[in-house]
């Protein structure tokens, strides 16, 4: 193919600028859609990751029938299992759950009209929610973590602070304990002494007690199914038909919204992923028709080329060259527009638009194959 032939072909391409621009626009549209589609997909994938990573799935321990989660009277051993204190007994619940919240209340003989409340964390007791204007102020060297330990310490309302910093409590006639004050409860309930959940009344001696409320979060949402399976080896799925026996407890896993948002994102993703091959098919068809229209009006021109003595393949490659040029130009243009819209050039978007352009070119090439088969005996026909 001589250079001058290519050069006049290119000039003719420019002089037919409307038709050429249309083909460029079609190729550009394919590329832009690939970019936009990929942008949408990657945003949905991101949303999926974020939902999995950031959604807190909380679980509430209930009684056997599921009718109450407030006054469980559940043995503290269950909380020990949840917090990983029972690993030596082959209970690995703490591998699947985190942020265990539990509260157990004990009435006190003295100080009078006071109650002792064991908590695993500040948020174990709804009364301590900062929303209610409560703030907990730990003394120097102490933090919320102390609630997880076994030190004999407590947090009290300001009016209970003693001079020596200790407070003496006794739940019954035989027990008396001196507990160190390590924090102040501002704006909170009065008459309640908060202490670490597993605090023994006497050093070294732990006793079982009853727990009022308990809840926790799933540790790793990606292992939700596995986690539930394991949780239900120790707890049950609460059912109103169950008769409370004081020994069996239920867990409500609050994962409906989580599943709902995952389902939404996943169905979006499925849709978007289906659209890619659909787009490819459409581009192939558009390419075919574009090539068809481009060559249809030019049959006489190609027949004249044949009549002048050009070989079939020469003409075919000339046409394919034109289409390739326009498609490449369209892809660049579309890539530019896509970049402006999306603000990035993802390799996936580039490879997809390359595939789409290729499908488009194949469509046009198939259409252009017609010109190889034109009957030049009809060249002198006056019609067409």
């Amino acid at each position: 193919m001589s250079f001058s032939l290519l050069s006049v072909t290119f000039k003719a391409l420019c002089r037919r600028w409307i038709a050429s621009l249309l083909l460029v626009a079609v190729a550009a549209a394919g590329t832009v859609s690939a970019f936009v589609l990929n942008g949408l997909i990657s945003r949905q994938e991101e949303a999926l990751e974020n939902t999995k990573k950031n959604t807190v799935i909380s679980c509430v321990v209930t009684d056997y029938s599921g009718s109450s989660s407030g006054n469980l009277s559940m043995l503290s051993a269950f909380v020990e299992m949840l917090t990983g204190k029972r690993r030596e007994r082959d209970c690995f619940l703490d591998d699947y759950v985190k942020n265990v919240r539990a509260m157990a209340g004990t009435p006190l003989l003295s100080p009078e009209n006071h109650a002792l409340r064991r908590i695993l964390s500040i948020d174990s007791d709804p009364l301590l929610d900062p929303i209610n204007g409560v703030s907990v102020e730990f003394y120097e060297g102490y933090s919320e973590e102390v609630l997880q330990g076994r030190e004999m310490v407590c947090i009290v309302a300001p009016d209970m602070v003693t001079e020596n910093g200790y407070i003496i409590v006794s739940p019954d006639e035989n027990t008396e304990a001196e507990i160190k004050i390590v924090g102040i409860l501002n704006g909170g309930p009065t008459g309640i002494i908060y202490c670490p959940f597993f605090m023994p009344f006497e050093e070294e001696i732990s006793v079982a007690f009853y727990v009022n409320t308990c809840s926790f979060d799933i540790k790793d949402n990606t292992k939700l199914k596995e986690s539930k399976d394991y949780i239900y080896e120790f707890f049950v799925v609460p059912d109103v038909m169950n008769k409370n026996d004081g020994l069996t407890f239920g867990v409500l896993v609050q994962d409906e919204t989580y599943h709902k948002s995952l389902g939404e994102i996943n169905s979006n993703l499925t849709m978007l992923r289906i659209m890619l091959p659909v787009l490819m098919i459409i581009c192939g068809c558009i390419g075919f028709f574009a090539g068809f229209l481009m060559t249809k009006g030019r049959i006489r021109e190609f027949a004249t080329m044949r009549c002048i003595g050009m070989k079939k393949m020469q003409i075919f490659f000339l046409v394919i060259g034109e289409l390739l040029f326009l498609a490449a130009f369209g892809m660049l243009l579309g890539g530019g527009i896509g970049f402006i819209i999306e603000g990035n050039l993802s390799p996936k978007a580039i490879s997809d638009s390359a595939i789409i352009t290729a499908v488009y070119i194949i469509g046009t090439a198939i259409a252009a194959l017609r010109i190889v088969r034109i009957n030049i005996m009809k060249l002198s026909n006056k019609e067409e």
């Binding site: 001589s2 250079f3 001058s4 032939l5 050069s7 006049v8 000039k11 003719a12 002089r15 037919r16 006489r300 021109e301 027949a303 004249t304 044949r306 009549c307 002048i308 003595g309 050009m310 070989k311 020469q314 030049i376 005996m377 060249l379 002198s380 006056k382």
Partner: protein, 223 residues
């Protein structure tokens, strides 16, 4: 000295529904330096015969020989590129190329350097009466007669020994017709080319050296 001859040529158009016998046994020897006019009623097979001479297809039976070689045996693309040019009633120019690019097109195909090709094309355009100011125009800015002259210049630039014209004056007024016929005549007589013109126009036929009358795909005795 090139020769063009038809030997017992038959041609049928075939499709799935029917067969049309368009050429029915033509034998004739065309000589260079002469103008032939092929006349006959519409549908008598003139265009078909001309197309066979141009090597656009091969006869169903018999053969067209150029320089003693049957068109069925030679590279017909090459034959058309170098030895035979066809001029049509509707000119068949490239409408997105300028006059000059049209005339030089076959030379581009022949891979002649651009400058040389355009030099030669200019010479031929001037020869058929296209002026320099028209070289850069697109064909549809020219009159029919001028367009036909560009088509002739394109044929001349190729250097083809054989010029075939299918009703070249069919779309032209009488003044332009005379001019085209004059040009074609000069090609035969001054440049020793073989010119074969298919025509309806009696005045064109009159100008020819030899008139061949076609009827039902065959020549009647020459007049």
């Amino acid at each position: 000295m090139n020769s063009l001859s038809a030997k017992e040529v038959f041609y049928e158009y075939r499709n799935s529904f029917q067969t049309v016998k368009a050429v029915n046994g033509i034998s004739y020897n065309f000589e260079s330096g002469r103008v032939y006019a092929v006349v006959g009623v519409s549908g008598s097979g003139k265009t078909t015969f001309l197309s066979l001479l141009a090597g656009l297809d091969i006869p169903t039976e018999g053969k067209i020989e150029f320089d003693g070689n049957a068109t069925s045996d030679i590279d017909r693309d090459n034959y058309r590129l170098n030895h035979v040019s066809v001029i049509y009633q509707n000119f068949n120019l490239f409408y997105h190329l300028t006059v000059l690019e049209n005339a030089a097109y076959p030379l581009y195909v022949k891979k002649m350097p651009k400058a040389a090709a355009e030099e030669l094309a200019k010479e031929k355009l001037l020869k058929v009466g296209i002026t320099e100011s028209q070289f850069k125009r697109l064909p549809n800015m020219l009159s029919g007669g001028e367009q036909q002259r560009v088509a002739i210049a394109r044929a001349l630039a190729c250097g083809s020994e054989i010029i075939l014209a299918d009703e070249p004056t069919g779309n032209l007024d009488s003044k332009n017709s005379r001019n085209i016929v004059e040009i074609l005549k000069n090609l035969a007589h001054e440049e020793n080319r073989c010119v074969i013109i298919v025509t309806h126009d009696p005045s064109v036929a009159e100008a020819a050296d030899i008139v061949l009358k076609m009827e039902d795909g065959a020549f009647e005795d020459s007049i």
